[in-house]
Symmetry: C2
Subunit: 344 residues, 2 copies
Amino acid sequence: MTELRNKRFLLAQRPDGRNVEESDFRLDVASVPALEDGQVLARTLFLSLDPYMRGRMSAARSYAPPTELGAVMLGEVVAEITESRAPDLKPGDIVLAYSGWQEYAALPAKACEKIDPALLGGFPLSYLLGVLGMPGATAYFALDTIGKPKAGETVLISAASGAVGQVAGQMAKRAGCKIIATVGAADKADYVTRDLGFDIAIDYKGKDAKTLGAELAQHAPKGIDVFFDNVGGVTHDAVMRNLALNARIIICGAISAYASGDKPDVGPRWNRQLLVKRAIMQGFLVSDHRARWGEFRSAMAGWLKAGKIRYREDIAEGIEATPRAFIGLLAGANRGKMLVRVGS
Amino acid sequence: MTELRNKRFLLAQRPDGRNVEESDFRLDVASVPALEDGQVLARTLFLSLDPYMRGRMSAARSYAPPTELGAVMLGEVVAEITESRAPDLKPGDIVLAYSGWQEYAALPAKACEKIDPALLGGFPLSYLLGVLGMPGATAYFALDTIGKPKAGETVLISAASGAVGQVAGQMAKRAGCKIIATVGAADKADYVTRDLGFDIAIDYKGKDAKTLGAELAQHAPKGIDVFFDNVGGVTHDAVMRNLALNARIIICGAISAYASGDKPDVGPRWNRQLLVKRAIMQGFLVSDHRARWGEFRSAMAGWLKAGKIRYREDIAEGIEATPRAFIGLLAGANRGKMLVRVGS
């Protein structure tokens, strides 16, 4: 019998003040550790790749500690239990866990969330990392607690074809809003208007804030009521020029800062505009809403089954593809929620 | 009988991109107009000077239209009715009106709010323009609807000895909070700590955001829960470095931008910090809360009479003193709520 080998990616160096490169990660092949009491062996099926990982590669203070140099890169996975020394889990069980960029992990059973596959209603397990997982919950709770879109309002979604954006836009559309999407490629614009039913899609690439702002003003003559900001940067500035009275701005992500090498974010400040428009700008973190996860998951699963929410994934094949797929995600090369199929 | 002469200040030129100068205003002596039916003649007793007036001198789009060139500078006054051709007001009545920088105004009676002097409980009429007027209401409603200070929290008030700041700080102190004040002079620091009971006062003058931020971190090791921002600029940046989780930031004013010539406000952006701290930054405008004015005024009058709120005014003498007093206000030369005694 061959010993199981565990391919994994370690953080080799921090990309401080520059873009992420493949050499920031080191492929390492380790043996799969023996289990201790209470542990399970989890074989990764799908690994989720998300912009927040860029933050953990940096030593800067954030809402979570950084990944240590030499440690396995973090990430949420769907995994299959292959061995168990814990009473609650048995081989064949499907779990969610934060075991990171690797093929296998020995985990405490209590660090695994067991999933009933019936929840998925025939949709693939990978959906647990997207529309039925963290990105879907981000869209759901950020709109519910901050955005509060009302029928007749205009909602702007940045990174609108991404994991969070596509779900948020469809939810706001179902609430009776006009959806303006900003995206970074012509085919993404086609996707969100043709497949998702968003009203307007604008390719922001190569435009400055003034130009993009003028374009937005044409599509939203009464201003933007809800701004779901996954991006920051130029798009942020363009939308802030076009707020409606009592606008709500969800600060959900800042991938533009990640993509530009995580340099200090300096630019026009919109305090006066917030005052004039009596607008709310609020930071959102999905982990604050764990207590309502069951409500979210059953609502979203219902909408999926009823065909009310559509969803697209971009799946890279094999653990070796992970660094390149992650760098592509930061640059907007993905088409839909970015995942890696690690095992099958 | 001598004809009544009306001294008034007109907007002579716009101070675009520079500080306000006395030559931006032109002293004009006009005759007092004859009254039409429904009008009253109001003799100004006190004129309120407020930072928002700087915004109206500029043609830039805001929540209110700019003052026209050649028009009387706007402003709220306490006035005495000296003639009336309206049934609701008679000579001797005291009113609030927005008649601006002038000694007399012919006004529609319906543009005047008649005041029952008993409301004041012996405090001077000028309080109607401060602690019992717009600045007091700003403190009251901004804390009630955005800041929501809770016992044990740390509250930072910028421009803490000003018309709004002194009231806001005392209200939050009474709610059981620790009050950190930023002020622009040593004697203002003494005033807010000795007379108003604020816990800490910091003179921000000459400090950059990093230095001021480090000083704040010492006084607020757990971070700032409520930030009542009347100032913007360096103080804003210093506080944003020191937010507590779930902080609330009231964007109430931006006098630092006015004082620096109203140039575009460019600097570090705090979107990422809002996200990490799940903080709310919200623009506030007192005129949105007119419906609750009666509640505010009777609560504040009660606190004044009970000695629970203390209050300081800075009164310039005579209409001619107005431009200089206003320029001083923008530079922080005032000590307490800035007013002009126009008549007596």
